[in-house]
């Protein structure tokens, strides 16, 4: 993997000293993605699936290709890809469309992002479902029996992360799928942090639903996916209808479109779809296995660097297998926000500070006031980690 060649594709990495370590929040965009979006807006900007003119047909063709690309990227069929605004909307789509009349129990974990927690907690507050939480240990990882105790024959759905945004560790999703399916429960995987960094095969993993975003995998903001097994998507009750979602309608009734159209009401984010497909193509061209391997090298380097900083405390088990290059940490007697602000001022290092939209997880791991998060991606380098370490050492001395 030629990292310098990859870096040359990113306009924001040209000519400056930016060290972008906030990839778990959103990633930088390569020119291939920007070009795909610009091309749509500058050469064939039109509606898809509605008009008969050549621009509309071109939009039809390109968005269909985009769906095919993203389906290939995630190991699913084209009809199993539903465009959403982002991961949050994809999870909400399942929360509000799945039938909970027969089974009301939804199992989540205390390590989930708010986007996975809140839709179901809200339904529980309204009495639509009952939630139960599988609890991680203080290091953010799960014991073997954490899920077998929670998932039972009353469980309708298990909602779990592929990779947490707070420690970079994967959940034991294969065991979870096995336990859930043995109990007749469905599994919704929050792959917002997993899909950009790991090769995921939706079909092979036997996931029921999977949600991820474009902007965390080099794509544009405002576009994401819900991936679902076709027969399960067929059973979902669309909560948002509009232009493009029905075959016929009269004042006496309507006939919904087939998948995936019935879930995509109104004019879609075409440039976002095309940008996301360009990002998926970009990643597939490099190879997700290569990216995963390179990130593991970066992760080892990053963890070692932070461990050498005086007064640094790392949250989560950094020895876990299948990690992303993501570490949450704090420096003794210097607030997380100050660390991030000073890193930006001193060395133009972009870090995230706070609770990472995972307040229960951070509180559980002993960081109720938040932490600093360094999250790396395929364009980051070991040299950047060296500068990061030097900067953190300077800040740590302030304590």
């Amino acid at each position: 993997m030629d990292v310098q060649k990859i870096r040359s594709d990113f306009p924001m990495l040209q000519g400056g000293k930016l060290i972008y370590f906030d990839n778990a929040c959103t990633t930088l965009k390569p020119k291939q993605v920007i070009d795909a979006q610009t091309e749509y807006y500058s050469t064939y900007s039109a509606c898809s699936g509605r008009s008969a003119h050549h621009l509309s047909k071109k939009t039809d063709e390109e968005t269909a290709k985009a769906r095919e690309t993203v389906a290939k990227f995630i190991g699913a069929k084209q009809t199993e890809i539903l465009w959403t605004k982002n991961t949050s909307e994809a999870i909400n789509l399942v929360a509000h469309s799945l039938d909970f009349s027969q089974r009301k129990k939804v199992v989540l974990t205390n390590m989930e992002h708010h986007s996975a927690l809140l839709p179901f907690m809200h339904l529980a507050e309204k009495g639509t479902i009952k939630t139960e939480f599988a609890l991680a240990g203080k290091d953010g990882t799960f014991t073997d029996d954490a899920f077998s105790q929670s998932i039972d024959k009353n469980t309708a759905l298990v909602v779990v992360h592929h990779t947490t945004n707070s420690t970079g560790n994967p959940s034991p999703y294969r065991e979870i799928v096995k336990i859930a399916h043995e109990n007749g429960a469905l599994v919704l995987i929050d792959a917002a942090q997993g899909a950009p960094h790991h090769k995921i095969d939706f079909k092979k993993e036997d996931f029921d639903f999977l949600a991820f975003s474009g902007h965390k995998m080099l794509g544009p903001t405002g576009i994401g996916c819900l991936v679902g097994k076709s027969h399960l998507l067929e059973k979902l009750n669309p909560f948002m209808l509009g232009g493009g979602t029905i075959e016929t309608v009269s004042l006496s009734g309507m006939k919904l479109h087939s998948l995936p159209d019935r879930f995509e009401a109104g004019i879609q984010n075409y440039s976002g779809i095309l940008g996301m497909a360009a990002a998926a193509n970009y990643l597939m061209k490099i190879g997700m296995e290569n990216i995963e391997k390179y990130e593991q090298e970066l992760d080892a380097e990053l963890v070692a660097a932070i461990r050498q900083i005086s007064g640094a405390q790392i949250y989560g088990n950094t020895n876990a297998k299948g990690r992303s290059a993501l570490v949450s940490f704090s420096l003794k007697n210097v607030s997380a926000h100050q660390v991030a602000l000073m890193a930006d001022s001193l060395s133009q290092i972009a870090l995230r500070s706070g609770l990472f939209c995972a307040q229960p997880a951070m509180e559980h791991m002993g960081a109720p006031k938040g932490a600093v998060r360094a999250s790396l991606y395929l364009y980051n380098t070991k040299d950047e980690i060296r500068i990061f370490k030097e900067t953190m050492e300077k800040i740590a001395k302030l304590a």
């Binding site: 607030s335 926000h337 100050q338 602000l341 000073m342 001022s345 001193l346 001395k397 302030l398």
Partner: protein
């Protein structure tokens, strides 16, 4: 505590530029919460602290560490200084409204509001030529051109103008009448005593020598006062200096000169009047000499 300062600073800046308004809002919110004994929930204070410490770190690690460690105390100090400064400014405004001068009644100190509002004394066009020639005189008493200087021995600008004065006196000896009027600045240590002492030296015909020594030892007498005056007097062998100075023999005369200065609306020293035309703190010899040349030419 920085939010108090930020509220004032960003509040003023946001009047002129919209980009500061979010900061002003944050500062207001933070200040309000602090005043109601609640923790500030904006990141403004942390941002200011982080950027300050980060700016100091490459220059001085010790200073950065000190600032980081004692941030609260430092911001408290700045807040108190700001409150004191605001109170002082308000007092100045009140004085300006009531007495026409920020420094209170009968003060001749510099007043910025005069300049800001355009009607104060800090404007040469507002100066009024003195009607009396009382003071230390030198030159031709029948000359057609009179140069009056209002000066103060403790004033660095009066000292800076002294070479020009001496050059003028040498160049136009016999052609002009030079009058020095004492106008000791009230906010300068020992300025009044220096003027009194110089008038005592004049009694014994050693004024110009004494004046020269005063300017030479300006820093010293501002700190030491009388000791320097006696030292100069001794070096000039002034016989009656001690009794003259101790009895404040020329107090009435000096006060009269100060009153004349106030009447002339003197706002800074040195101020010269060349046949009534004012020149405030000339920076070069020509600034002082050219009006003299012009006046002499006009008088022919």
């Amino acid at each position: 505590m920085i939010c108090f300062i930020a509220l004032f600073v960003f509040g003023v800046l946001s009047i002129f530029s919209a980009k500061y308004r979010p900061f002003a809002r944050q500062a207001f919110d933070c200040t309000f919460r602090r005043l109601t004994l609640r923790p500030c929930n904006t990141t403004l204070e942390e941002e200011v602290k982080s950027k300050t410490v980060a700016a100091l770190l490459p220059k001085s690690e010790k200073l950065a560490h000190f600032t980081n460690k004692h941030w609260d105390a430092i911001t408290w100090a700045f807040t108190l200084i700001m409150i004191a400064s605001l109170a002082y400014s308000l007092l100045g405004i009140l004085n300006y409204v009531y007495y026409g001068n920020c420094n209170g009644p009968n003060s001749t100190g510099f007043c910025i509001y005069g300049d800001l509002f355009g009607n104060g004394a800090s404007n040469p066009s507002q100066l009024i030529a003195p009607t009396s020639l009382a003071g230390i005189q030198k030159g031709n008493s029948n000359a057609s051109v009179t140069v009056v200087e209002f000066g103060c021995y403790t004033c660095p600008y009066t000292k800076a103008a002294e070479p020009s004065v001496q050059k003028l006196l040498a160049e136009y000896n016999g052609s002009i009448l030079f009058v020095y009027k004492h106008f000791p600045l009230p906010n300068h240590n020992n300025s009044y005593a220096a003027a009194l002492s110089a008038m005592c030296a004049a009694d014994e015909g050693k004024y110009w020598e004494y004046r020269s020594a005063l300017f030479e030892r300006q820093g010293e007498f501002r700190a030491n006062g009388n000791a320097t005056f006696y030292s100069i007097a001794s070096s000039l062998s002034l016989q009656n200096f001690t009794s003259c100075f101790q009895n404040s023999t020329h107090k009435a005369e000096l006060d009269a000169q100060i009153t004349q200065g106030i009447y002339s609306r003197i706002y800074g020293t040195p101020t010269f009047f060349v046949n009534g035309k004012p020149i405030v703190a000339p920076a070069t010899y020509d600034e002082l000499a050219n009006p003299v040349k012009e006046a002499l030419a006009n008088s022919r």
